[in-house]
Amino acid sequence: MQIDDTDRRLLRHLMADPGLATAELAARAGVTPATCWRRLERLRAAGVIRGTAAVIDWRALGWEVEVSLRFTLDKTAPRAFDDFIAAAREVPEVIGIETFLGRVDLRLNVIARDMRHYKEVYRSRILTLPHIADIEALMLVSTIRDTEALPI
């Protein structure tokens, strides 16, 4: 589908503030509420807007530790990626799985209640994942910026 400047303007405001009601969004983007509604429906129907999702603050739920674990896999095993990802999906503390082209093959975002719990998860559920060649850990200290907004 063709995306014009008005669509981009709507998306820019919506990405900056996804909770906006249609009327407020229309006012900020300088279009009528009817136009706004119609354009959003069109963007949704075309799959440009896939939906909205609630953002969970795991720290507010008592999950204090978040670690980014970067893996290189043993690529001599033909199903290394598939096996690893299938096993990682079974670990409840894994909140994200990403694959990469680069020095790192794969990243898991892992949360834990505290450092003791993290150690337990790491030993019993992470180190036991299949085809690991190497692991590096980055422990999250703070998130300075986190947005889905695109510079359109």
Binding site: V48, I49, A53, A54, I56, A60, L101, R145, E148
Partner: protein, 152 residues
Amino acid sequence: MIDLDATDRALLHALSQDAGQSAGALGRRFGLSQPAAWRRIRRMEEAGIIAGRRIVVDREALGFGVTVFLGVKLATRGRISVDDFERAVAAIPEVQVVQHVLGLFDYRLRVVARDIADFERVLRRRIMTLPGVGQVEANVLLSEERRPGPLG
């Protein structure tokens, strides 16, 4: 910190998949009245467990075909360089995520670009010129999957 029961966790999980569902629809799904479902959601919002909503878009349809994660090490550390770096990096429109981490790198950045040539431009003109920036490692994102986490 508030305790969540099984119904709260089910609601939270459902909203993290699709925040567009009404309290009425969620209530019917989990055997609650509309006001009861609404009250539970409101309580989780007030406790900061639902930190907000994010809009999920098709990045490629909007012309952003490349997402890269950068690991950045600062060349010089110290209070001033950290503040300068954080302020400058958070102002780059292509940088969606900035996380301060402990480990091999000091910061993790998520950067979006139109294509590899555009990424090179962002890297050279915006990232490599940041105050205090040292070693940078890039990994191109191939796939990503958000997991429900320990809500089940």
